[in-house]
Structure formats: structure tokens, C-alpha cells
Subunit: 221 residues, 2 copies
Amino acid sequence: MSIRPIKPQHETRTRILDAAEELFMLHGFEGTSMRHLTARAGVNLAAVNYHFGSKHALIEAVFRRRLDPMNAERVAELARLEASNNLSPDSIIRAFVGPGLRMIEDAKGGRNFIRLLGRTYTEPAKTVRALIGQMYAPAMERYKSALERALPQMPGDELVWRMHFMFGTLAYTLAATDTVQLIAGCKPEDRYDARLLEDRLTAFLAAGLLAPLKSSIKKAA
Amino acid sequence: MSIRPIKPQHETRTRILDAAEELFMLHGFEGTSMRHLTARAGVNLAAVNYHFGSKHALIEAVFRRRLDPMNAERVAELARLEASNNLSPDSIIRAFVGPGLRMIEDAKGGRNFIRLLGRTYTEPAKTVRALIGQMYAPAMERYKSALERALPQMPGDELVWRMHFMFGTLAYTLAATDTVQLIAGCKPEDRYDARLLEDRLTAFLAAGLLAPLKSSIKKAA
DNA sequence: CTAGCATTCAAACGTTCGTTTGAAAGTCAC
DNA sequence: GTGACTTTCAAACGAACGTTTGAATGCTAG
């Protein structure tokens, strides 16, 4: 009892979660069978139901393992900005997209999850959408009020829409990296420079967030 | 032979396509069974295989029915802009997002398809991604060169990325409308004013497209 | 009317799905 | 070593999947 066991406490659980991350990303939830998943993880077919209860509970566990810490990091970074009185739109955006983009650079674990996550915002299954929606809720609340304070002149409706647009850009950028290639000319090898991508993305999002208000928008507000 | 038949030439095909649009949007491709689909369409279970050959061929037909005309409309609108020498970034963006947003206002047919389409950019199945990728290719080519002419000072890499971001914003906006509600405060009832949404979206995208080039981006180019 | 073709239908095909079961194997305190 | 657990395992469960089949029906030209 003095020395921690070399085999981690729940190695089977971890292997299942890792395999699920990869296969869900590659083939989706419904396209990934338990037989394929457990074979990839090198565990018995019944292991998922034994350790997680059901396939859906496994899906939930996959998200909870990484999404909760990621959003906690986002909130912590925002709190750091507030403490240092640096609530510029640019720094707020950077605090939000940073944790996501940095996870892409993770060897294998994080990258699979990030691509899976980016796709799941538009997941058809209501249960999954509701699940990640409630996981995001606390962080979203914080960022919304931070942006309201940073942009006091912006109408509330417009801010919500622009946050919506920003979120979509991030989600699509994460999900589509090295998957769909609608625009010819992208070189996949430079896509994993997260630092450069963060600069590109932040520049784009900050400009969109601060776009001048057209008359039709002001009228609607 | 003088009068067109009142019953359209392929009513069963149309009913299947309409039901597929709706159910694929609601439950995804793998989550929609042929039995559920044919029951919704009010046709026999074997009708899909008889008229389309297979489930995958049906998926392809669903996209081909609306995506090809929509992209043709985008190209035509771009040609109109070129003819009138009005190739501003704002008008180019409007020409691209317009046909998609207008389809949301369609009673039932178009709206289902647009939400389905927005989700499919991040579809896990390679075959589906390849399919819509090749459907978009001609229009993408035209818009890319139009933007290159409108923004001669922008590095090629950066333009490709910003088109990527813009496309993601549009895709997410179309797909997520009235589905996921990550940000509290959205009132679904004003989401279908396509004219106002087009203004909001164009303002956001145009600002992002024209964002100032940071030094790190310039250095990479 | 009838021959020929297009379409619909109920039934069944073999396969794969998520889950369950009960026995076997492993683990640890005492 | 023994007993009380946790975990793994091979096997099987019923249900649902996409697809196929062959007969029945609808339609149209001659």
C-alpha cells in the first residue's frame, strides 16, 4: 500500500475511453459498434457495459473526461484576465479558443477528442446535444457577461449572434481540420501549428466581433 | 400525351426524398432506418432500393436534388456581379450566403435540407464528405479567384484560411439554427428573418475577411 | 382485350446491433 | 490458504438493420 500500483487503477476504463475517442471521431457514434470499439481497445466485449453501463453512458464519459477540465481552464483564464484588468475583446477571444486549439497539439488523445467535439455541436441526437450544452453552460455564461462588459455599446441581440458566429467558426475549424477539404490549396502540414492558427483565428474573430453595426442591425435592436 | 399527368412523374421518389431530408436532419444517416423512412414517406419498404438502388444512393440523391441548383445559383450571382463590375468583398459574401439563407425560409422542404447540409460538412463518413466536396468544388473555385481579385494584397495562405473560417461560420449558423442553444438569450422566433440574418452574417464575415494582418501572419506568408 | 413493362407489396434473407448471462480468473485482507 | 470481492471471458439473447425476392397490381401501346 505504500507504493502506488504500476497498473493504473482503471486501465480498462482508460483504454475504452481512448478507443472510443478515436472511433467516435472516425465513424461517429452510431457508426461505431461495441465490437469494433472493444476490439480496438483490446478488451472484452462486455467490458463497456460492465464499466460504464451502456453505450450512451460511455459517450457521456468520453465528453466529461476532457470537456469539463477544458471549460474550467477557460474560466480560469478569464478570471486571470479580470484580475489583471485586461478585458479586451482580443484577449477574451484568445482565452476561449486557446485551450481548444492547444489540445490539437496533444500527441493523440487530445486531437481525437477535439475533432470529435467540433463535430458534436451539430450532432443529430438530442441527448448528446443536451449533454454538451449543459457542460458548456457555466463557461458560456461567464464569457457572455465578460463580452458585455468589454463591449457596452453593442446591442444584446447582436452580441448573442456574434458569439454564435464565433462559436461556429471555432467548432468548424476544430472539426474540419484535415477532414473535409472544400477549398483547394490548404496544406495539411501547417495546420498543426496551433500558435499560428490561434493568431489567424483570433484576428478573424476579433474583427468579426467588432464589425461596424449596419443600420438594419441597429434598427432590430 | 397533350396534357401533363396530374400525378407527377415520380411521386414516390419525391415522397422518399422529402422524408429522407427530414429524418436525416433529425436523426442522421445511420440513425435513420429504411423502415422508419419508408413509413414516414408512406411507401413500401422496398421502394428505396427499387427507385434509388441503395441507402447510400438515396443519400447522394438527397444532396444532388438541392445542392447542385444552389451552387449554380451562387455561380450565376457571382457572374452577375462580375458583369456589373461590383466585386466588393461584401457583395461576394452576400452572393455566397444568400442562396443558403433564403432556402431556410422555404416552407418545409428547403429548411430541412439546409440544416442537414450544415451538419454534413463535419460528417464522419468519408464517402459523404467526398460527395459534397466534389459538389462544391466548381463554385468554390470561382469564389476563391473572385476573392483573390478583390483582395490582391492578401497572402494566399491567409485567404484560404479566412475562406475556411467563413465557410465554417455559415455552416454552423445553418446547422445549429434552433438546434443547440449554447448561448442563452437567443429568441428562436426571430431566427427566420433571413434578410436580417443575412445582414448580421455578412457584416461579421466581411469584417473577419478584411481583418488587419498581424505580424505573425505576414511572417508565415 | 391483351401483351409488355413499371411499380408496389408482403415476406423473408443473412447480418449485425447493444446488451445480458453465468462461469472462470484475478485480487486482496486476514 | 480461505473467503469475499472485482474483473474478465465466451457465448448467447432478442431486436433491428439493409437488402432481396417473387408474386400481385397498375398502366399504356397496339
